[in-house]
Every structure is written in C-alpha cells, then in structure tokens.
Amino acid sequence: MKIATLHDAIADHVHDGDMLAIEGFTAFICFAAAHEIIRQGRRDLVLVRMTPDLIYDQMIAAGCARKMVFSYLGNPGVGSLHCVRRAVEKGIPRPLEVEEYSHFGMVSRYMAGAADLPFFPLRSYMGADQPKVNPHIQFVESPFEGDVVAVVPPLNPDVAIIHAQRADPSGDTQIWGLLGVQKEVAFAAKRVIVVVEEIVDESVIRSDPNRTVIPGLLVDALVHEPWGAHPSYAQGYYDRDNQFYLEWDRISRDEAETQAWLDEWVYGVEDRASYLRKLEGQDPTLQQRLAPGEALSQPVNYGIYG
C-alpha cells in the first residue's frame, strides 16, 4: 500500500482493457477518478457499476469503454443517461456492449467475487426475460427440497475505486452513510484504490473498529482528494450538487455540447484541485451551498481492558 496522487494511482493501477468498478450506490461516486482516467486516455475498459450514473455517462462519452456491466441506467431523480443511450442506440462515439442484471444480481456477483464462490444463489429472475439475454444467469436445484433458485457467477474486477470519508495512512477505511457494495467490490477486485476526504491518524480509526469497512490489507493505493466525489456527495462532508445533475441532463442530450463540456471541465483542468478552483470561480457559494450542518454520532464506549 502506498499513499499516492490520484494521477499516479490511476497511472499505476488502471490499464487499457481493464475491468474497472467505481462503486458507491447513489453516493460517494468518485468523479475525480473518472476524470483522471479520461484525461489519461484509457481505452477499451469494461465498466462495472450497479448504477452507471453521470460518472459512466461521461466516461462513455469520452470513449473510454467498450462494455458496461450494470443494473440500473439513470440520472437519479432526473431522467435518462443520454450518452449511454447514444452509445447503445446509435454507437456514438463507439458501440457499447451491455451486460445487465437486476440490482440483487449485481450484489450477488460482487459477493461471489469477494467470497471466492463459483456462484451466488438468489431468488430472482423467475418469469422475467433477463436470463434469455444473459447467459450468466442460470438456475440451480437445491439438494434439500428441490427448490430452484437463480445463480450468478463471481465478478472480480481488475481494479476497484472506492470513495470514502476517511482512512488511516495504512489504508484502513471508514465509511458512514449509504454503504452500497463498497466492501464487497473491494474484496472482489484484484487491485483497490481508495480515495478519501481525509487521511486521519490511526488512533481515530482504532477508536471505532466496527466502523472500518475496508482493511488496509486490500488497498493498493490511498489517495487524499477532498471533494473528490463532486457532483456526487460524501455524507457529512458535502451535499450532492443537484444543479449539476439537472444541467447534465441538458448538456448530455447533445453530443457536441457533451464534448465541449469534457474539453472544458475534464481535459481543460489539470487535476481535481484545478477543477475545484474553476468551479468556485464560477460559483463562489459552492462550499456554502453544499456544506451540511453538523449532526454528530453519539460516542460509544469500547472500554479499556488491560
């Protein structure tokens, strides 16, 4: 494990053709990493994520991906992902192969991957058409009472990127708020990059070991990148920038406007710090607009035994 810049973490661990999972279910979406991958010009990625959201819409518009594995396509609370739709419906900027599950199917694939199981069983897909278009959805009979359940195979991305609130310098990572499948994808992936709002002293993590979701043992690179999830959010650090989610709906409907946006906000900035400076230049109230108030957890006593 080493503490790295986002540039170096991506350069070292994300390669052309990799299967990449940037997870965080509707929260903690690491746009900073996606933009760095776009800037570094990665190609032929297999993008894995339950909810592709704007982050994969942008990466697909930038031509990074050849395939996407997912369970729900949408701009949450707003509407369609227009770049994904252009790629699927019209092959713009390039054709995009899709491999599709329900949410539970994706969760199960990650769990099988994390647990090194050849399959994970779930009661889903009965009566539905997904198994007809996805050979990875099969059915197995129980040896106990003859009950039949669906099974899906493990998903083991080459690299997973997880955004979180804090980690110690060894990479022991704590997350609070929506936990999604971050733990599962970290255990399932061959390499793990963790991007945090804060790197804290080991004593902070050790004061609350039940809150640690990802052990440093799994982490190949730890990146300190405040506001790395904007326009998504990090619980307790900043709010989702809903204005941008609405604006993207407009921008992304048009291919040229989309490319112009990428030119300005991704290719046109050097790194996340530059992006934030530019953003605050445009909107000086940004921090104030998105800063949440304070709602602290009440402490618990682990006790001193010694």
Partner: protein
C-alpha cells in the same frame, strides 16, 4: 371542490391504498410523497424502506433521489445492499412496494428495459433497441418478493400494451392461477395500478387487470382508448374520490412545498 393536479390525484390514491400497511419499499418522487402522506393519514405506523439501504428515515427535506443524504441523517438503520436484498427483501420483510413502468400488460408484467428495435427476434431487439430504458434496478426482485406491488404510471397507449417488448419484472405471468407460486415467487404480485386517469386492480382468479375506478370527468371509454387490449371493467365502476382538503394541505404545505413533484401538472 378544490382544484388538484393529476399528480396529486395519483398521490392521494396511492396513499389511501396503504391503509393498515406496515413496511413499504419506496422510490422517490410520487411514491415517496404518497408514503409520507399515508403516514400522516391512513398508516401512521408505516415504515419506509429505501432501496439504498435506509430504514426509518426522517428526511429534513424532500429527498431528490433514493440516494439523498437527507434520508440517512436521523434514520434508525442504514445497511449495505447485501443486507437490504438478502435479509429485508428476499427475507420477506417488505409488505408493499411501488414500481414504475414504461410498458405494462394485462397481467401486470412490466417492461423497464428496452422498447422496439431494428433487429429481428427477441435477442436482437434487446441488443439494438429503439429506446434503451433504465433496466431493472431492484424491480425484478421487488416484483417477486414484496407481498403486494403497487404500480404508478401515466395512462397511455404506449404504456398499456397487449404485448410488452421485454419482461423486466414479472406480474401475474400469463394469468394462470398459481403460476407465481409454481415458479417460487413468494409475493402476491401487482394489486393496483394508479394512473393520472383511472385506477386498475387485478382479478383474483384470472390475474387480469380491470378498470376499478375512473377519476372525476373521465369515462371508461376514454380509458379503453388508451389501453391496448379489450379492458375488463368492474361491475359498478366507481369514480375515484378526489383529494380532500386536508390531503392537499399536507401535500402542498408539508410534503412538497416547492411543488417539485406535484406542481407541474404532471
């Protein structure tokens, strides 16, 4: 009588159907407002479970997505997706769930995956669709496990079709009695479809959707014109009771004061 929007009609109709329910699986938008209205009226003990893993939420503002951080702060329990799908949904803890649909057929089977397409055949249509929709999300398994499913969608000929292009979430299958149980589907399937023009229910014996009530000013003929199969109509077709003054006050003053979901005349 007070004026109301079609969205307000859909919200109050959905809320009333939650009378006496305990645990509801909820998305944002109209279902969210409907569930909160129900908690203020017919179902004070209603627990809202969000697909994002949030239980017992007390949002300080109207949530704009199921991932809104306002759902988390002050909730009673927030868990990861494995727990949510394995223990809450598959474990049979969800009584009612709301689903949306791009297409629905007479048996309540739902498509939210693809529409049409250039290639011949089923798989080809899937691979080269005319319109790529969001896909399942959790809907496929919600439709299997929730004890009851309520569908909220607008009434239109594109939506109410004789043959859906893709079955994302199974309803009453081909209507054969016991068909769901035979496939190992624990929930009872779709019970209610709330639209901007009318409300539909499903016949217990045939699993077929029938027109249960029309909203004030709408006729059964107008509804049939929007539905792609010969629609069965309830004996003694009723007119939907419009939103009461108190329901409208709750919606407008407390639940969606900025009219984000209800004010655009949706």
């Amino acid at each position: 009588m007070t004026e109301y929007t079609p969205a307000e009609m859909m919200i109050t109709s959905s809320a009333r159907a939650l009378a006496g329910e305990r645990v509801v699986f909820v998305g944002v938008g109209l279902p969210n407002i409907a569930c909160n209205l129900a908690r203020h009226t017919v179902a004070p003990d209603l627990e809202l479970v969000y697909e994002s893993g949030v239980f017992g939420s007390r949002p300080a503002r109207l949530p704009l997505s199921i991932g809104d951080p306002t759902l988390v702060s002050g909730a009673t329990l927030v868990c990861g997706m494995p727990d949510l799908f394995m223990y809450y949904l598959q474990g049979g803890r969800i009584e009612v769930a709301f689903l949306g649909a791009a297409q629905i057929d007479r048996f309540g089977n739902i498509n939210t995956t693809v529409i049409g397409g250039r290639s011949p055949g089923f798989v080809g249509r899937y691979e080269q669709p005319k319109v790529r929709l969001p896909g399942s999300g959790g809907a496929c398994e919600i439709a299997i496990h929730a004890q009851k499913v309520f569908v909220i969608m607008r009434l239109s000929p594109r939506g109410f079709v004789d043959q859906i292009d893709f079955c994302t979430s199974a309803g009453h299958l081909d209507g054969e009695p016991g068909g769901r149980a035979a496939l190992g589907m624990p929930g009872a399937g779709p019970q209610l479809v709330v639209t901007d023009k009318a409300i539909f229910r499903f016949a217990r014996d045939t699993g077929e959707m029938y027109l249960s009530s029309v909203h004030p000013g709408i006729t059964a003929e107008e509804v049939q014109a929007q539905v792609g199969w010969p629609l069965k109509v309830a004996d003694g077709l009723k007119t939907t009771v419009p939103p009461t003054v108190e329901e409208l006050r709750l919606i407008r003053e407390e639940l969606d004061p900025e009219g984000a979901y209800t004010g655009k005349g949706e």
